[in-house]
């Protein structure tokens, strides 16, 4: 029998074919588009322009604005998610905590629901006329314009924190539960307790899990789109224009698909680097 007919390849072939069609071909085509002057309004007249689309990005302030907004968004959101998620995980890991399984199940729910619903719920809650939160704050004499140009990006990051801290909690809690017990007993014998235990025993042991959780969240947060679409559409001005939203806008509202494809490829490079780190971390923590 021909070696390529071995069962292991026959089991794999359908997957390779389908992923080749829905991912491989689009990626290759996208690379081709990114090297052409390709607009949706004149598909037949695409001209080869080489690296011009990529070089154009270097001098494109909107692109850099979108990159900057996205990086700010990712750092604020993922940073807060890590702190809150780790704190909650420690509390829920504590044996003496009452009703911990009930708390866990309910606290995890936001990560499962559709982000567009989350965006619209918060647009409603934070709306300056209709929203309960600004109205309640106003009754206390505090005026906050959540989606004004100063706060909008931060508000979107807070919404991300509401939805995705549960994901951090899920992974970190699983990490805590999988830790060996001996180091903790040894530390207890040496008189460690409370904060010292967390600082010198839990945190070092949890480092691989924390790193993996942070990278997965970063990968996801880089794709932020729904909150922007639901609430600000990139505004006020360009203050909440994120990279995925910007690509959507350039490609599908301005029809400049060559430029959009070039931007998408720069995004793929970031994702590639993060996935390499993630794979390395996951493999190392396994051995």
């Amino acid at each position: 029998m021909h070696p390529l007919l071995h069962l292991k390849y026959r089991l794999l072939a359908p997957l390779v074919l389908v992923l080749g069609a829905v991912i491989g071909y689009p990626l290759a085509f996208s690379l081709w588009v990114s090297l052409h002057n390709y607009t949706l309004t004149a598909i037949g007249q695409a001209k080869l322009v080489g690296a011009a689309n990529y070089l154009g990005l270097l001098a494109n302030p909107s692109y850099w604005r979108a990159i900057g907004n996205t990086v700010t968004f990712v750092l604020v959101a993922v940073g807060l998610e890590l702190i809150l998620g780790f704190g909650l995980a420690l509390l829920l890991h504590h044996r003496a905590t009452p009703l911990r399984h009930l708390f866990r199940s309910l606290l995890l729910t936001p990560m499962f629901i559709t982000p567009i619903a989350v965006g619209l719920m918060f647009r409603f809650l934070l709306n300056s006329q209709l929203g309960i939160i600004p109205q309640a704050l106003k009754a206390l004499g505090i005026h906050v314009d959540w989606f004004g140009s100063r706060l909008a990006l931060f508000s979107l990051a807070l919404i991300d924190v509401w939805q995705w801290t549960p994901f951090m909690l899920l992974l970190l809690l699983a990490g805590l539960e999988a830790l060996p017990t001996e180091p903790f007993e040894a530390a207890r014998v040496d008189g460690a307790s409370g904060w010292n235990m967390v600082r010198y025993v839990t945190l070092p042991l949890m480092r691989p899990v924390i790193l993996a959780a942070v990278v997965i969240r970063m990968l996801d947060a880089f794709k932020v789109y729904e909150y922007v679409y639901a609430i600000t559409r990139g505004g006020p001005g360009e203050s909440t224009e994120t990279i995925q939203y910007h690509i959507y806008r350039v490609g599908f509202l301005y029809f400049r698909m060559g430029e959009a494809a070039a931007m998408a490829y720069t995004l793929i490079i970031v994702v590639l680097i993060l996935v390499i780190i993630l794979f390395y971390v996951l493999r190392r923590s396994a051995t």
């Binding site: 829905v22 559709t114 409603f124 209709l130 995925q244 690509i247 793929i268 996951l282």
Partner: protein, 272 residues
């Protein structure tokens, strides 16, 4: 000593209740809003309102039920295809280490690709194939992330099955293929269920692809919900009802999938 322990417990409980309140409040507020009249919606601090079913009735007589059906069809077809294609491949990756680390890395990378990187060519492809505004276009786009995710999940579950199980089956006269689908596959049923449920939820939740690939005839539920709050106007009550319809079932489903999720996400990298 005992009073200090009690105090600590009380503080922990207080913090957890606060977190729970923050999580639950948006759900409850949206549920409440779905029973309010437009006048009541304009007075958020006024608790004295007469509940109405008008929003739910209007929502159920709009395009939303059709869009729910579209979402169910897309999710079911995507998940079914993902299991049919993903399970054999995951078994191959796990048992024969086909493709080694490179293959596992590729599966991980595929599920992490940003939708923005694939949407331009997928859109043009569907345009060329005249599949824009059909559910097939959405299924194809959802396969780009759900098929690698399901495969990744199942690699992890297959890794946990001891090889002795199928060796025994083959001693008893099964071929390798029979050992796979009669012996190994049934033992990872919880994994298959969790991967299917999680995959369905991801498909149900997608806005980005569905927004760009669907039209009047094929909109899915997230696209429908997004349409309630536009620059032309807001139908807050109906929107709230539709949101509850979209997130209620998922919240309930999440209780069944949570415990398998960590094993699944660790996937093909955890065992080296």
């Amino acid at each position: 000593m005992i009073s200090r322990r009690l105090a600590t417990q009380a503080i922990i409980l207080l913090i957890l209740c606060l977190a729970l309140a923050i999580v639950i409040f948006p759900y409850l507020w949206t549920l409440l809003a779905s029973f309010k009249t437009e006048a009541a919606l304009n007075r958020p601090l006024d608790w004295n309102f007469t509940p109405t079913l008008a929003n739910w009735q209007a929502m159920l007589h709009s395009e939303i039920p059709r869009q729910v059906l579209n979402s169910i069809i897309v999710g079911a077809v995507t998940v079914l295809l993902s299991l049919l294609l993903g399970a054999p491949a995951a078994y191959s990756f796990s048992r024969f280490r086909t493709g080694g680390d490179g293959a596992r890395f590729a599966v991980l990378l595929a599920q992490m690709l940003p939708p923005a990187a694939l949407i331009v060519p997928l859109f043009l492809l569907m345009y060329t194939l005249r599949l824009l505004d059909t559910l097939w276009a959405v299924v194809a786009s959802h396969l780009t992330f759900i098929l690698p995710l399901v495969t990744w999940f199942l690699i992890g579950f297959f890794d946990d099955v001891p090889p002795e199980l199928e060796e025994q089956a083959m001693v008893d006269g099964c071929t390798q293929w029979q050992a796979f689908y009669r012996v190994v596959l049934p033992t990872i049923r919880p994994g298959l269920g969790a991967a299917a449920l999680f995959g369905f939820v991801l498909s149900w939740n997608d806005l980005f692809y569905a927004l760009l690939l669907t039209g009047k005839h094929s909109r899915t539920l997230p696209v429908g919900i997004a349409g309630y709050w536009t620059f032309r106007g807001i139908e807050m009550g109906q929107m709230s009802a539709a949101i509850i319809l979209a997130i209620g079932p998922v919240i309930i489903a999440s209780f069944f999938v949570q415990r398998y999720l960590v094993r699944g996400l660790g996937g093909g990298a955890v065992k080296g």
